[in-house]
């Protein structure tokens, strides 16, 4: 009995130790081979071959490829790499395996279109993906919304954006903002309002918490950009009226241009600089803002956390 117990204990100890050792070794091997493994990940690029090998279980395979595309984008983005060469083929295989996988078009285009490091810098590939998606899912208003978004943000093609929003506006279950977006695109008016509407529609049309968070960040940034633009116009008016720049926000308040001390969307007061520019107090606290930054500062981007980056898309 004692001997049996001893054997059991030794076997358990060896099992646990070898398991822990195995995990540690794999971890070390992964760290050593991270680059090459990621690049070699796409063994098969032919969706036809994959479809045959899947024995008809294409839905599950498409889900796996879509998850792989999300992870690949997240990994490259996290590593700060501008090399997204596998992204387009991964998305092509995914959508060929399951042409009805709408999230792959919606978010895949967002990964492909923006310039690195936010995206792969392949707006043409994003456009092809969206067109393929619409061809196979002509009743999905979200795809027309994404197509319009793409034309608006990446190609600045307002006529085509208006056309996409107008087509999406006619589909069942469409968002109430679609016809308004179509009209705004046609007029090419009210940049802030249009962008706000686009991000608000993005917020409304997804249940994913991180995508919604990303849309909220953009809405806050738009609010800050609009505030800074308006305040700088006010400063300019003050200068024209008084022949000098205001020394403080108090001067603008006393002159009746503003009421109190205006604050950014995070509740921090805007700063009036000696040269008349308006700056936000903590530029890093408002992601994506393009105005109110200290001279030379790039618009702040999300910190590199793989999932957050991946899921936030790249807009």
């Amino acid at each position: 009995m004692k001997a049996t117990r001893r054997v059991n204990m030794v076997a358990t100890a060896v099992l646990l130790l070898s398991m822990a050792g195995g995990v540690a070794l794999l971890h070390a091997i992964d760290r050593m081979r991270r680059g090459p493994v990621a690049q070699q990940a796409l063994y098969l690029q032919s969706a036809t071959a994959l479809r045959r090998m899947s024995l008809g279980y294409t839905g599950l395979l498409a889900d796996i490829y879509w998850t792989r595309a999300v992870q690949y984008f997240g990994e490259q983005h996290h590593a700060g790499s501008g090399d997204f060469r596998l992204l387009a083929p991964l998305l092509e295989v995914t959508t060929e395996l399951d042409p009805k996988l709408v999230p792959a078009y919606q978010f895949g285009a967002n990964f492909l279109a923006p310039k690195p490091p936010s995206g792969a810098g392949l707006p043409g590939a994003a456009l092809s993906l969206m067109k393929y998606g619409i061809e196979h899912n002509p009743d999905q208003w979200r795809l027309y919304y994404n197509l319009g978004f793409l034309y608006y943000t990446e190609f600045k093609d307002y006529a085509k954006a208006a056309d996409a929003f107008a087509k999406g506006a006619k589909l069942p279950g469409t968002n109430e903002f679609m016809p308004i977006l179509a009209a705004r695109m046609a007029q090419h008016a009210g940049e802030f309002d249009t962008a706000r509407m686009l991000w608000f529609t993005t917020y409304q049309s997804t249940k994913d918490a991180q995508i919604r968070e990303n849309a909220v960040e953009h809405l806050l940034a738009l609010q800050a950009d609009e505030d800074v633009t308006r305040l700088e116009q006010v400063v300019e008016k003050y200068r024209q009226q008084n022949g000098r720049l205001p020394a403080s926000m108090g001067d603008l308040d006393r002159a009746g241009f503003i009421h109190g001390t205006p604050a950014d969307p995070k509740g921090r007061p805007y700063k009036l600089m000696p040269d008349g520019r308006i700056e936000v107090e903590d530029p890093k606290s408002i992601l994506f803002i393009t105005k109110g930054l200290p001279p030379g500062m790039e618009p702040p981007q999300p910190s590199h956390q793989p999932q957050a980056d991946t899921k936030s898309g790249s807009k």
């Binding site: 024995l55 279980y57 294409t58 889900d63 879509w66 998850t67 999300v70 996988l101 999230p103 994913d208």
Partner: protein, 258 residues
């Protein structure tokens, strides 16, 4: 059903349960609950799709593996253990033995599928928080998977009626693979001319058509399954299983068991 067939079927089911076949449900539950929780973390917007795709694919593949590995041993095990002689020395006909075994194995798989279906539906409820109208098509896909099992069970039994367990497994699995590509095969037959075309057409219609029974991708997107397809698939699976079981009975009737 003939009472002797019923007894053999019940005993086959009991034996499968005793052989811990239903333990696969534990692996299935772990797989599905793990996927339902993890996918939301590592992918985007496909939680429901993964539960349906992974759940139904697992139900199908687990079932096919069980059908093949139990089906191939149904006859040979009885011969090896010499229990077949005891059974046949009683007033049990050979065809009753074969048909009883078929119903027993099919029953095991139906129970297994029923329990897995509950798992799939619970996982769906977990990710979507409520059932939707389109979830009814998931039940249709599960029904088609059961039809698939009818054919695989019948084939496994057919091959095991004259071949060794290993060869029966190889034949059945090969037919499952070919049958899953049946639509491609018929497409190939259509574009092939002459004798090759005739041979390809004959093979394409002889192998079981599993591709029409696989509607997992469609139901994952909530696409409706036409009532006519449900009717045709049901009739096709019953006819194909009847054909394979008849073949098994014919061979087993003539088999020298000495």
């Amino acid at each position: 059903m003939n009472s002797r067939v019923g007894y053999i079927a019940f005993n086959t089911f009991r034996e499968a349960v005793r052989d811990r076949v239903l333990y696969n449900l534990i692996a299935f539950a772990l797989l599905l609950s793990g996927a339902a929780i993890l996918v939301g973390e590592i992918s985007i917007d496909i939680e429901r799709l993964v539960v349906v795709n992974l759940g139904l694919t697992a139900v199908s593949l687990f079932g096919v593996v069980i059908a093949i590995f139990i089906g191939i041993g149904l006859v040979s095990k009885e011969i090896d253990k010499r229990t077949l002689y005891t059974v046949l020395s009683r007033p049990v006909r050979r065809w009753e033995f074969v048909v009883g075994k078929f119903f027993g194995l099919t029953g095991t798989l139906v129970v297994n599928t029923f329990l897995m279906a509950i798992g799939v539906l619970l996982a769906l409820l977990y990710v979507a928080h409520k059932f939707e109208k389109m979830d009814v098509w998931v039940l249709v896909a599960l029904y088609f998977i059961v039809l698939q099992f009818l054919i695989v069970c019948a084939l496994a039994l057919f091959f095991s009626s004259f071949s060794t367990p290993l060869m029966s497994a190889v034949f059945t699995f090969a037919l499952f693979v070919i049958g899953s590509l049946a639509e491609d095969l018929r497409g190939f037959a259509r574009i092939t001319a002459g004798v090759g075309g005739w041979i390809a057409t004959a093979i394409a219609y002889l192998v079981p058509n599993f591709s029409a029974l696989n509607v997992i991708s469609q139901v994952a997107h909530g696409d409706a399954i036409p009532g006519r397809l449900i009717l045709y698939n049901s009739a096709y699976a019953l006819l194909y299983a009847a054909m394979a079981i008849s073949g098994a009975v014919l061979i087993f009737q003539r088999r020298n068991l000495k």
